[in-house]
């Protein structure tokens, strides 16, 4: 029974950690983008204020069942993805963060990541907002773009290390050093795919603020939006930890984890802060150009490694 409660505590602690770090990163990004645009920008804790305010609001309307449960599907996907990603390695400061990480693998994670977006897309569809539907159409289209180089990078890693599980990849890195260096082309392809995955400019086609009135979330307010923002923070953190785990051998304590994830996160943020938006087809072609080339190179490299 004790073991069971330890697991529950670990679960709650992990989710809380992910939420806090994710939301702080979100605030930092808003600040950084504001500074590059010569604005002062909101404080770093602005996201917490927003989310707290939204949680305290009550909603007056709903658009039907699918819209009602869509945020629940989003948070289900985010937390489930987080549960399958090892947050800290070894006997770090918090031995709880082990979760379920040995019971899924990379292919599973790639598919699990889509679950939330698909659930949200269905909820958005029921609201009948044309802007939101356009956003979904663009987002899904671009997803086909960036998933290709991303999966190529993953296949290259799996072939090179002869394992498909994340813990397996980390064990390999314990012996052979970071995969970032031993499989450089895969890293390049994955980072380029990551630009699209985080939906910052020039790939912010789905949420395009000035074009689509923020697109997909536009019919969600109050608790719905609060849950979506929470889910978004957790998901961003989970994705970053996944990248750190597979390319940088994870992190053994929180400080190193924060440093590694923040450095990685700055790539799409800084790239996005100075780039104007692509059209959707340009974004797709971008991912099927150089990133896919590097992905192919990575696979060839892995075959002859």
């Amino acid at each position: 029974m004790d073991e069971f409660w330890m697991k529950i505590i670990g679960f709650v602690a992990t989710v809380l950690l992910a939420f806090v770090v994710g939301a702080v990163y979100g605030g930092l990004v808003r600040k950084i983008i504001a500074r590059t645009q010569n604005r002062i920008g909101p404080p770093w804790y602005q996201n917490f204020i927003d989310i707290l305010k939204l949680y305290s609001k009550s909603s007056a309307i709903n658009h039907g069942f699918m819209q009602h449960i869509a945020p629940a599907m989003a948070i289900t996907a985010s937390v489930t993805v987080l549960m399958f990603v090892p947050v800290l390695t070894g006997d770090g400061w918090f031995p709880w963060f082990e979760n379920l990480n040995f019971k899924g693998d990379l292919i599973f994670l790639v598919y699990m990541m889509v679950f939330g977006s698909l659930g949200m897309a269905l909820g958005i569809g029921q609201t009948g907002n044309p802007n939101a539907a356009i956003g979904v159409s663009r987002g899904l289209s671009m997803m086909v773009g960036y998933e290709i180089p991303f999966v190529m990078a993953l296949v290259a890693l799996m072939v090179q290390t002869e394992t498909t599980s994340i813990t397996g990849l980390m064990e390999y890195q314990d012996q052979h050093g970071w995969l970032m260096f031993s499989s450089p082309f895969a890293f390049i392809a994955a980072v380029m795919a990551m630009l699209g995955m985080f939906h910052y400019g020039p790939f912010d086609v789905a949420f395009a603020p000035s074009e689509l009135a923020s697109g997909p979330p536009s019919e969600f307010g109050g608790k719905y939006l609060a849950l979506m923002m929470t889910s978004g923070s957790i998901f961003a953190f989970a994705k970053l930890v996944l990248f750190v785990d597979i390319f940088m051998n994870g992190a053994s304590n929180l400080i190193i984890l924060v440093i590694k994830t923040l450095v990685l996160y700055m790539i799409p943020v800084l790239y996005g802060a100075v780039s104007p938006r692509y059209r959707t087809e340009q974004a797709i072609r971008y991912f099927w150009g150089w990133p896919t080339f590097f992905g192919a190179l990575a696979i060839i490299f892995a075959i002859y490694y």
Binding site: S58, S59, I61, N62, H63, G64, F65, M66, H68, I69, P71, A72, M73, T76, V79, T80, L100, K103, G104, D105, I107, F108, Y111, V114, F115, L118, A121, L122, G125, Q126, T127, G128, N129, P130, A133, V136, S137, L140, S141, M143, V144, E147, I148, V151, V155, A156, T163, T164, A213, S218, E219, K223, Y224, L227, T280, E281, I284, R285, W288, G295
Partner: protein, 618 residues
Amino acid sequence: MNSLLLVILILLAGAVLSFLANRIMPILSGVMSFLSIGAAAVIFFVQVSAADSMAIPISGFSLHWGINAYSWLFGAMVLGLSVFVALYAIAFMKGKDRLGYFFFNFNLTIMAMMGIVFSTDWVSLFIFWEIMTWSSFLIIIYAGISEGRVGTKYMIFSAIGGYAMFMAILVSNSLLGSFQIADLVSGFGTLSLGNQALIGILFMVAFGVKSAVMPLHVWAPRAYADSPMAFTAIFSGLLSKMGIFGMGILMISVFAQGTIGQTFIFSNILAWLGAVTSVIATFYALIQKDAKRLLAYSSIAQLGYIIVGLAIGTPLSIMAALFLAVVHAIFKGTLFMVVGAVERQAGTTNMEELGALIRKMPWTFMAALFSIIALAGVPPLGGFVGKWMLYESLITSGFGANYFLVIMVFLSSTAAFLYSYRFLFGLFLGQEEPEFDHVKEAPAIMVVPMVVLALLLLVIGAFPGLLFEPIANAMAYMGVDVNWNMTVLSNVWGDEVHMEPLWTSILVMFVIGATFLTFKTRRNTRYVTTKDIHTSGEIPEAHENMTFSVNFYQPFERAIEPVMKRKMDTYYNRIGEGLESLFGFARKIYTGNGQTYAIYVIIFLSILILIGETIFNK
């Protein structure tokens, strides 16, 4: 009486009876068909055992029937799905004319499929194969000859397939002296490489036509979309699996015996054909306006995965292929039934017109949602299990080209999200249109089969082992041993996915999230229509249409434009035109004028007189 014969006879009797019952009362026709299929299914699942076999002597040789673990898998699939579709068909076909004709062919198709499954020699397999082709052809032209000559196209390709199979059977008989499938398996290794390739390619053409592998696929989209939906559920779900059934026999057991199995080119070309089929078909699926056509192209794409799995030929990939075959039968059968229900209730399946049926047809939507989740391969439903095994088998195969193959498969199944969403959005979500206000939920007799099948997908997702067991038995019969576990998926590198914690995590989080949202909120909120939305301050007029459903994926279409320029259809049309001009030339010789023929006779005689002496007087 022999239970195999009994199954076939019951289905045949059902066909005749439902034809006759139409004279008494049209609705009886469907009921007869359902009862006979139900009875056949009961006998099949209760009575039929591995020991059953029989021979029908026909002047000099005999037709052999039997059952083994592999054919049991396909037989169970055919009868299991057919029962549901037959129940659905009663309500779906109600009020349409020529019900006797429809149900006669419907039953006959299912009988022919069971016959194919039972056959242990090529001759009876060929006979049933042709019955299946003809009865399905008659249903395709049920609505009359359409402007695209769909039936003709289907018939031409089926004829090519049929002749190819006939030739393969004769060649193998003349080389091995036997029509038995088992003898081809054991004797295949003794043939020369050329003969192995000849027999292999001819059989592959025959089975490839039915499973719509590129470049033999052009008949499929229209044929699937134009037949009545109650039949398309069978057509796409099961009839195409007969091609897979044959390919399975060849690729798992026959080619493994011969030297051709070891040459990598043969299976690799097939695997790449399967992958390219799935990518191109997926691209076509997502530019369709009609939900039926979308599903038709999607069927072709899904069969591509199955062929990839069979062609790679590792234990895990074969298991993935058979798993996908069964799951595809379930979810695509359900989806075609969903489209049929929408067509019957709303009168159209055009996704640009339809929308917001979710509140009017909630149960149909639920069935569609689960099937689409399985189709897209999103965890935790059954579709994911098959996709996962396919990817893992390709990645762990240790062969360079397969790593690029997995990218092709991945491209196709990621793009499948697009048409999956388009399907649900086009039919069930989006703006409410006043012209569809009258639409009601389909009758219970249609809804029940759809919902039951959708729930079956949930069960398979939670306990994939239920399906692994018969598949592993089938593979053991074919000589491929594979390990399986009730809830754990694993590959040859020892990496695992546990379905149990996954389901726990998803259920727990979903319940927490949904409770949180519903608590205090759901009661205090009121439902607003889809006209009552955020429009950036502009107030739309009542007549203004705010639906976004035309050119839904225009940006993606632009991105893939270079791929879409070429169509296989154009090549076939050119061949067709070429043949027509050839026949036009023949027409110049056979003018139909007696005087011309008289000239021919004179020319022939004069040639004979001139050179005849040297030929005959030797």
